[in-house]
């Protein structure tokens, strides 16, 4: 069991935008019914929306010892079919509107159905395995992070401690629940007995803000793009007396926006909390205490309670002086068990031993506050989603074998360089379809040739002049 819902009895656990709510006691009971309908510990795919039904399925399965794998309900069909073939789940928990003519419905509640699959064999599950989450958006990549019950509990407890969460909190959903950061908000607030305000509406909609104001939301989270959007909407002028805390993760804010948001929050008597995390560490690893938000602008802070950061140089020696950049290493009970890329991997135990090489480069200052300086691996964050550039190259080359291609760019702006202008539109459409991200993130640029070294390696550095 992850959460002891009985502890909060008749407190409201979830309230949705249509006025429907569930107490902790009811959430406990409804969740048990889902797990009982499945009847055993097994793998289940959850097609998520920020709705009561998705949360009932998620909490019921986790508390009941099943292993949910979380996907966005908008995942494209061919990606979903691919993942089903790779992992062969015993069940799906999906919104009623999504048709699955070949599967047998065995239970339904709150607009969701439990659908039984009919694979002849299932993959064995390691006893510690509790949850599977994707590392990126919805490219259909079969790579998932394996999280244990201990991981989820430790991280939720730590987040609830440093954000000082209690039962008076009313966080409103702004991120998909299948996304590690969105899920961490749910996990930590359910541990604290708070009321989750759930809506699938975006911050650019009137319905979102009406619900926000009527239900008295106290906090929300956002990726850098969320805050850029809010800033452009001049949301500072909105009347939001119930709002106490804004958290930010999923990439690095520009220092200028960080400073502006921290200053405005301070003036409004609110907390602005910059955080750092990855799915590989369940969710959170670092946070900047809100009282330091202005003073340590541009920093992602210190390790969360129970965790530890250090830096290593290229020879793997620990860096002990401030101001020197090295790879950021995190240690803590929330470091996940490892990756799964195929069904057979679900039987694997803990491969990482509580230590995570983050792939991010960082430095620390005299006071021990950490600053992200760059990335060791080639990936970008697009609207908070991790996009691996080598994977993009491979995807494009797989689809257009004759095409020369190299991708690069900055966060929220992915550039794909090719040498055939006639394919530019096809490449862009293909990437939008594959990643399910808005087209504004993609630029396809045609060059006479892709810069390469004598040994034929792409010189990504030389591409910087086209986007820097």
């Amino acid at each position: 069991m992850i959460w002891d819902f009985q502890k909060y009895g008749n407190y409201t656990a979830i309230l949705d935008e249509y006025g429907k709510s569930l107490t902790y006691e009811a959430l406990d009971k409804e969740g048990r019914l889902v797990a009982e309908a499945a009847g055993r510990r097994c793998l289940a795919f959850l097609l998520c929306r920020n709705e009561i039904g998705a949360l009932v399925g998620y909490t019921g399965m986790l508390n009941g010892g099943m292993v949910p794998l979380l996907l966005n309900s908008h995942v494209n069909r061919e990606a979903l079919e691919g993942l089903l073939a790779v992992y062969r789940p015993a069940y799906l928990w999906a919104p009623e509107g999504i048709p699955f003519p070949d599967l047998t419905p065995v239970y339904d509640a709150f607009g969701y159905r439990l659908l039984q699959t009919c694979y002849e064999t299932e993959y064995p599950l390691h006893p510690e395995l509790a949850l599977l989450l994707t590392t990126s958006g919805s490219t259909g990549s079969p790579k998932f992070v394996r999280q244990s019950r201990t991981n989820i509990q430790a991280n939720a407890k730590s987040i609830a401690a440093y954000l000082e969460l209690d039962e008076t909190e009313r966080p409103i959903t702004t991120l998909p629940m299948n996304y590690t950061y969105g899920l961490s908000i749910i996990n930590s607030h359910l541990l604290a007995g708070a009321t989750l305000l759930v809506t699938d509406k975006s911050l650019t909609r009137r319905e979102f803000w009406s619900f926000f104001q009527e239900a008295g939301a106290t906090s929300f989270g956002g990726v850098p793009y969320t805050y850029e959007m809010l800033d452009r909407m001049r949301f500072q002028r909105m009347d939001l007396p119930s709002l106490r805390t804004m958290t930010q993760a999923g990439g690095k804010l520009s220092p200028a926006l960080h400073e502006k948001l921290a200053g405005e929050a301070l003036a409004a008597g609110r907390r602005f909390v910059v955080m750092y995390g990855q799915c590989e560490a369940t969710a959170r690893m670092g946070y900047l205490p809100p009282e330091k938000a202005a003073e340590k602008c541009g920093s992602m802070g210190i390790a969360i309670p129970g965790g530890k950061f250090h830096l290593v140089d290229e020879e793997d020696r620990e860096i002990t002086v401030p101001g020197v950049s090295g790879e950021l290493i995190y240690e803590g009970p929330n470091v996940a068990l490892g990756y799964a890329e195929r069904g057979e991997d679900l039987r694997k135990g803990d491969e990482w031993g509580g230590v995570l090489r983050t792939g991010d480069m960082a430095r620390f200052d005299e006071d021990g506050y950490y600053y992200i300086t760059g990335r060791k691996k080639r990936f970008l964050k697009i609207y908070g989603n991790r996009v691996n550039l080598d994977e993009v190259d491979a995807l494009v080359k797989g689809r257009f074998p004759a095409l020369e291609c190299a991708s690069a760019g900055a966060d929220d702006r992915l550039y794909v360089f090719i040498t055939d202008q006639e394919r530019a539109e096809d490449v862009k459409e293909f990437l939008i379809h594959k990643t399910q991200l808005n087209s504004s993130a993609f630029r396809v640029v045609c060059l006479d040739e892709i810069p390469k070294s004598d040994s034929g390696k792409t010189l990504y550095r030389k591409l910087e002049e086209y986007y820097a």
Binding site: T204, R205, W209, M229, R232, M233, R234, R237, I432, N438
Partner: protein, 79 residues
């Protein structure tokens, strides 16, 4: 260019669609009109008409027709 043409052109540019798709078009009625596309559309309209839209107008802008109504009523743009 007439105001209507400017208005249509902003949609075509920001949401990568064609003029014939515009009548009746609502938020999320096309893949590109999500929150990212919405902010792109607002920025394009602000540039095209040299205006600064209010928060309330940005979040009430829920369809092609509704947007026209907002620009007409609150920014004095005649169609």
């Amino acid at each position: 260019m007439t105001n209507l043409e400017k208005y249509d052109q902003a949609f075509v540019e920001a949401l990568e669609i064609t003029v014939d798709q515009l009548p009746g078009l609502e938020y999320q009625g096309t893949d590109q009109w999500d929150s990212v596309g919405h902010m792109g559309l607002v920025a394009t309209l602000e540039d095209a008409f040299d205006i600064m839209m209010d928060t309330d107008d940005i979040i009430d802008f829920s369809s092609y027709e509704k947007g026209k109504e907002i620009l007409e009523k609150n920014y004095g743009i005649a169609f």
